[in-house]
């Protein structure tokens, strides 16, 4: 069964064997926006002009991670280690090609013996920046689709699920629900037709992990979906992609076409009885469509409004059929788990959070870009070592994780290991992996207001607490940010947070108060400082102790009493 893959791998190796040098140009969204396509053209022309095309090839690859220093170009040779170039322009092509056989071009050289490159552990991103995402042959030559063949020829669906359970993999879309358990439920649900949906809506404004995976290694997602389809008994999959990601859509379309051509999608995959088809569905700019029931409504061509659960999509999903919904990164972990075994995956990470996690570093941090680290890596290591510290020489004030459903973690907790439980204990969430670093100039009240404005505009309007509550909370936060608040506004704000969180229909409303609650918990003095003196004189300040997610009372920071 593996013959076809071996054939392709061999042919690929043969056709590349004659190249002693490979010039890789990042063709993911970040570098593309700085015209890396023009750089690739310039490099190709330069190689041809010098008659080097017999032993040097120029190709486009996916994201190399260090977006802040883009456009990035790397040179692989037979003899020496990879050379990375940063801030490349098309005009640099002659210099880079001229240095192919000599020492690297000093002014463009980006050292790779730094923590950013050395501290990472790449599973999801293992092919990113190493293969051309538009060629299935390169994916296959990098062990691609062997996990799918292994699953459908050597394992029963139950064994596949057991492997996922053993891996301890949890959903990377934000909730952290155990993936194996979800697969088991869908597999057990009664229904002739079942579906697999890949959630590529990536709504968190400030996160770009899923985008990068889709653009850099689209076959990985298709393989994960097909394995999931086999495990739960589905023959059809959908990828729901944000409308804002045209490049990801184009790459996925190419990948689907190629996968069909090599018979890794379609009917009778690799000569077995197993059939699996994948179609793309486009979002159209609605955050709430990342929520699973809204997403299903959107695929059905309707307004993307959530519905109450249960029934969960696992039992009653797309067109009323049992449906498995997983995030892009979750599915990207599936093939390596099947290839290397669940135990291998479970050996990475912490007791309850296994494996690795991809984070998108942004905000006031030097190395903005994409990283992948084992679960449990302390925030400090991520920010100061891998991330290169706070930009502009400032101090880290807080780190926002989890986007509009998450919270701000103050700098004093930088030693916290990053896993689902630790972040939740701090009143934030892991979320999908956006990590925004804020320096001292950031006002926490403004950050809370920003996210509330986001939730207010994105509320789908179906349930009253979220539709009306977010507007009122936003108005209150507006008062605080203009220093026009009265003490009773603080009381009202906390009441509203409590009400909206407990009575909203879907996760959007239930988590909308989180940014407010977490900033109130750690930066309450900023709220109190925003209460006008006249107003404060009129009312005595009696701040209520904030409550954590599980209802336990937290100690308010001491300084609030002082201010």
């Amino acid at each position: 069964m593996y013959e076809r893959l071996e054939e392709i791998t061999l042919a690929e190796q043969e056709s590349t064997a004659r190249f002693s040098h490979t010039v890789n140009v990042c063709m993911a969204a970040g570098c593309m926006s700085s015209r890396s396509d023009a750089i690739k053209d310039a490099l190709t022309k330069e190689v041809e002009a010098n008659g080097l095309e017999r032993w040097c090839r120029v190709r486009g690859v996916g994201c190399m991670g260090l977006c802040a220093h883009g456009p990035l170009v790397s040179v692989d040779t037979d003899q020496s280690a990879e050379t990375l170039y940063q801030y490349v322009t098309p005009d640099d092509a002659p210099a880079i090609v001229g240095a192919l056989e000599g020492p690297p071009v000093e002014r463009l050289h980006c050292p790779t013996n730094v923590p950013f490159f050395q501290r990472q552990k790449k599973i999801v991103l293992e092919n990113s920046g190493r293969i051309d995402p538009e060629r299935v042959e390169e994916y296959i030559a990098a062990d691609g689709y062997t996990a799918l063949i292994k699953a459908i020829t050597e394992m029963s669906p139950a064994e596949v699920i057991d492997e996922i359970i053993a891996s301890g993999l949890r959903g990377r879309g934000g909730g952290g629900y155990p993936t194996g358990l979800k697969w088991t439920t869908v597999a057990k649900s009664e229904g002739d037709t079942k579906y697999v949906i890949c959630n590529a809506d990536e709504g968190d404004p400030g996160a770009f992990m899923d985008r990068s995976v889709l653009e850099s290694d689209p076959h990985r997602i298709l393989e994960g979906m097909a394995i999931a389809g086999y495990a739960i008994g589905a023959g059809q999959g959908y990828i729901y992609v944000r409308g804002e990601y045209p490049l990801a859509v184009a790459r996925l379309k190419t990948a689907i076409r190629q996968a069909r051509r090599v018979n890794m999608l379609g009917s009778g995959i690799a000569g077995t009885q197993f059939a699996f088809h994948v179609d793309i569905r486009l979002g159209a700019g609605a955050f709430v469509c990342g929520e699973e029931t809204a997403l299903i409504a959107s695929i059905e061509g309707k307004r993307g409004q959530p519905r109450p659960r249960p029934p969960y999509p696992a039992e009653y999903g797309l067109w009323g059929q049992p449906t498995l919904i997983n995030n892009v990164e979750t599915l990207a972990n599936v093939a390596p788990i099947i290839r290397n075994g669940g135990d291998w995956y479970a050996s990475l990470g912490t007791a309850k959070s296994k494996g690795t996690k991809v984070f998108a570093l942004a905000g006031s941090i030097n190395n903005t870009g994409l990283i992948e680290v084992p679960m449990g890596t302390p925030l400090r290591e991520i920010i100061y070592e891998i991330g290169g510290g706070v930009s502009g020489g400032g101090q880290c004030k807080a780190i926002q994780t989890g986007g509009p459903s998450g919270g701000c973690i103050p700098a004093e907790f930088l030693d916290t290991p990053v896993d689902y439980e630790s972040l939740a204990a701090l009143g934030s969430i892991m979320g999908s992996g956006g990590m925004i670093v804020m320096d001292e100039s950031a006002s926490m009240v403004d950050v809370a207001r920003y996210f509330m404005e986001f939730c207010m505009t994105e509320s789908c309007g179906r349930c009253v607490p979220c539709r009306v509550g977010t507007v009122h909370m936003h108005n209150l936060l507006d008062k605080f940010s203009h220093h026009e608040a009265a003490p009773r506004d603080l009381v009202l704000l906390e009441k509203l947070c409590d009400m909206v969180r407990n009575t909203s229909l879907c996760g959007l409303g239930q988590t909308a108060p989180n940014p407010v609650l977490s900033t109130l918990r750690y930066f309450r003095h900023e709220y109190i400082a925003a209460i006008t003196e006249e107003a404060a004189d009129l009312y005595a300040i009696t701040p209520a102790p904030p409550t954590s997610r599980n209802g336990a009372t937290q100690h308010a920071p001491a300084q609030e009493v002082a201010s």
């Binding site: 969204a29 926006s33 802040a68 770009f208 409308g243 979002g283 700019g285 061509g301 309707k302 950031a442």
Partner: protein, 172 residues
């Protein structure tokens, strides 16, 4: 069974309707192809007008209320024609932190329009986005389809100036 596939004639013999038809065909004229179809209409015509909504509704045998409901629910669909040029500024978290709100204010006051509006002469539409997925390069904006990262105020202004000026020169 509702009658499907009974071909509805497009509003005009504009060739772009064929592209729209092809999308509907690819989805078997099923209603779940509605969002894809609206995307195609918008790509081809720039926006969704009443006529196109009626046509899509009739072709997919969907109630006009559903078609209108969907086209107003999703932010990417526009029921108004866009200006000659568009500038989309990102207001995602990373771009927000990196000072995009101030830049947006500047642009708004320079052109006398608010985000979401088009200048009275139809030259420039100013739009906002929630994260373009290039957060590593924040702040980010898109000028007539070409994305620009690590944007500075001066550069943003001069790009807008260039964009809108070229046409004035051509017209003169």
């Amino acid at each position: 069974m509702p009658l499907r596939n009974e071909k509805v004639d497009p509003p005009s013999d504009d060739k772009r309707w064929r592209i729209v038809q092809a999308t509907m065909q690819r989805n078997g004229f099923e209603r779940d192809g509605l969002i894809e179809t609206l995307h195609t209409v918008q790509e081809s015509f720039g926006f969704l007008d009443d006529e196109s909504l009626r046509y899509v509704a009739a072709s997919l045998n969907a109630p006009l209320s559903q078609v209108y409901g969907v086209s107003t629910f999703y932010h990417l669909f526009s029921l108004k024609p866009a200006g000659q040029h568009t500038c989309v500024v990102c207001l995602g978290t990373a771009c927000y932190i990196k000072g995009m709100p101030a830049m947006l204010k500047q642009i708004e006051s320079r052109y006398g329009i608010k985000a979401g509006e088009t200048t009275p002469d139809g030259q420039l539409s100013l739009l906002t986005a929630r994260c373009l997925g290039a957060c590593g390069l924040a702040p980010v904006a898109v000028f007539d389809g070409s994305i620009a990262g690590k944007l500075e105020m001066g550069e943003a202004m001069s790009r807008l100036q260039e964009m809108t000026e070229v046409d004035h020169v051509r017209e003169a």
